[in-house]
């Protein structure tokens, strides 16, 4: 079932066309809205939230027109990219207030605020003013406030912005948990392909206001028929051992790549590794990365060009 629909969506700001007739659907699960700066990601989010009117086309959120009534936003969460947390207020107080403004009664709002802060790992720090939080903690509060009213769908605008690699990994893990365990669908707007690969089920790629590609991430990054053999050392010896057994491989630094490996050849490869004394690190079918997918023209593109 599609949670969001954009139909021939067009929006301009002055002479700049932010979105140029894009049509796509976003299903349940975790979806990445991928694109570089100026691709139209934030404009799309604002249109889905009903904050701005499209110049052309329409949007549908949870089966409703977001411009018709703000009520649809009782089931939508949003964490913006920019700072949005008052420095002098505690996270517990702020979340409880936001839950109330989103339509929860007062007592459940307080309980859910504490509960959500526990889920994002800020239970101990919940009464500290948010001005004293680190960037990672603030990102987690932003996520918690987007979920505090139990939405069906949450928009997260660049949720890993400003985080170090560990913080980024933790945040992506948290988002995966929200999507998988909490049952809340997530739309991540990001320019980081790695975030989408690690976290999302499906992806919508925008480029300069146009739809570049949309689909399931696993489908786009499906396994190829090639086999990759990563070694710590002994790559050249392994290459020779494979050649001696009639197998062809390509050596690039410490990675050997073999095109089209059949079932029986795996035994031969195993023997070659043992015979060459190569220190094996990894042996796996090659997968296309999203970056590879988007650097190649799609079938449709090929047909039109």
């Amino acid at each position: 079932m599609a949670l969001l629909r954009a139909l021939n969506l067009t929006k301009s700001f002055g002479s700049t066309r932010a979105l140029d007739g894009v049509t796509f659907e976003i299903p349940e699960g975790i979806t990445g809205l991928l694109g570089s700066n100026g691709a139209g990601k934030t404009t799309s989010l604002k249109l889905f939230l009903g904050l701005i009117r499209p110049d052309g086309g329409s949007t549908e959120v949870l089966g409703q027109n977001p411009l018709a009534s703000p009520e649809v936003r009782t089931r939508i969460g949003y964490a913006p990219e920019r700072d949005c947390l008052p420095a002098e207020v505690s996270a517990a107080e702020f979340l409880a207030y936001m839950a109330e403004v989103s339509g929860l009664p007062r007592t459940p709002a307080r309980l859910r605020a504490s509960d959500l802060l526990r889920h994002v790992g800020l239970f101990e720090e919940r009464y500290r003013p948010m001005g004293t939080y680190s960037t990672g903690m603030k990102q987690r509060v932003k996520l918690a406030q987007a979920l505090v009213h139990d939405p069906l769908l949450a928009f997260l605008d660049e949720p890993t912005a400003g985080l170090d690699p560990i913080g980024r990994r933790e945040m992506l893990e948290l988002i995966r948990r929200v999507g998988r365990e909490f049952g809340i669908s997530i739309v991540i707007s990001t320019h980081l392909m790695g975030d989408v690969e690690r976290t999302c089920d499906s992806v919508v790629v925008l480029d300069a206001g146009r739809l570049l590609r949309t689909g399931v991430v696993s489908g786009l990054t499906q396994e190829t028929e090639a086999l990759e053999i990563d070694v710590v050392e002994g790559g050249a010896a392994l290459l020779e051992a494979l050649a001696a057994r009639g197998l062809t491989a390509r050596l690039d630094h410490n990675r050997l790549t073999m095109e089209t490996v059949t079932g029986e050849e795996y035994d031969v490869i195993r023997d070659a590794i043992v015979a060459s004394d190569a220190l094996l690190y990894r042996l796996a079918p090659s997968r296309l990365a999203l970056a590879d997918v988007f650097s190649k023209p799609s079938d449709e593109d090929s047909e039109t060009t």
Partner: protein, 294 residues
């Protein structure tokens, strides 16, 4: 007795399956927060200081006057010499601390939300920009209106208690109650609207406070110069620039006192005040809509 090892039950994530509140309850949540901010409740001593000192300055003089009057009451001669101010007269004094209160405290309701980017979160909630600013406006009006009305209520109560027959005094003077509410509104509504409008143009509270006071002071200066330098209709029209003067004239009209600016009918002054306030309110709404979209 059997002993069982301790177990931890993690309930995991629990969704909210209860009923969601109406839009009025959501507005009420914003209103309650606005009242708390206006009074500095739940904040540090510094946040409370300006609010309570300025409200105190509007209220305490009346309380002191009433207490003095109460002490002098038994001594008939001294009591005759001591005269409490009229309801309308008191606003000549109270308008100063109330203006300062509006200028200094009202920006706290809007400026931090803009500065900290919280407006983006309000925009994504199931409320409109009108709900947001309307609730904050009502919140500050509640506090400012109460601060404007309480002194008059104290005087009204004292006058009733001090009368030889409180029952008959109340029967004869019941109309003072609605008039005093109207007077409090005539002072509090324009001040609330002006100060929030000023706050909607800046992220810095100090700038908003200065802008509010500048509008009031420059208006008063223009009105004063007009009265001194011109006569007739020109002076009358120019004197309308003074929002504080217009407010106090409206208060006098409401209490059926003589206005300080004689040639203009009271209803015209009140109408002008309502028009200016409405204009500022529409401007404030448009400005907030624009801010939320950003």
């Amino acid at each position: 007795m059997t002993t069982r090892p301790a177990e931890i039950f993690d309930l995991g994530y629990r969704g909210w399956e209860g009923q969601r509140t109406s839009r009025w309850r959501r507005r009420h949540a914003i209103w309650r927060d606005g009242v708390r901010i206006s009074l500095g409740l739940g904040r540090g001593v510094g946040a409370k200081f300006a609010s309570w000192v300025l409200i105190g300055l509007a209220l305490v003089p009346m309380v002191v006057l009433v207490v003095i009057s109460a002490f002098l009451s038994p001594a008939q001669e001294a009591a005759d010499e001591f005269e409490l101010p009229s309801y309308a007269d008191y606003y000549d004094w109270a308008l100063v601390p109330l203006s300062l209160f509006a200028a200094v405290v009202a920006p706290l309701l809007l400026c931090p939300d803009r500065r900290d980017g919280v407006l983006a979160l309000y925009a994504a909630r199931p409320i409109t920009s009108t709900d947001y600013v309307g609730s904050l406006w009502t919140a500050f009006l509640t506090v400012c209106g109460a601060a404007a009305w309480l002194p008059v209520l104290v005087l009204f109560t004292w006058n009733a208690l001090d009368a030889s027959s409180p029952d008959s005094w109340l029967r004869d003077n019941w109309d003072i109650a609605p008039r005093s509410m109207g007077a409090a509104a005539a002072v509090a509504v324009p001040l609330t609207t002006l100060s929030l409008l000023a706050a909607s143009f800046t992220k810095r509270r100090a700038y908003a406070a200065v802008a509010t006071l500048a509008v009031l002071l420059v208006g008063s200066a223009v009105g004063g110069i007009a009265e001194d330098s011109f006569k007739g209709a020109v002076a009358d029209v120019l004197s309308l620039a003074s929002l504080s003067e217009v407010a106090t004239d409206t208060v006098r009209w409401l209490f059926a006192d003589e206005p300080q600016t004689p040639p203009r009918p009271g209803w015209a002054t009140a109408l002008w005040l309502a028009g200016v306030t409405l204009f500022m309110a529409v401007w404030l709404l448009q400005r907030t809509r624009q801010l939320v979209r950003e």
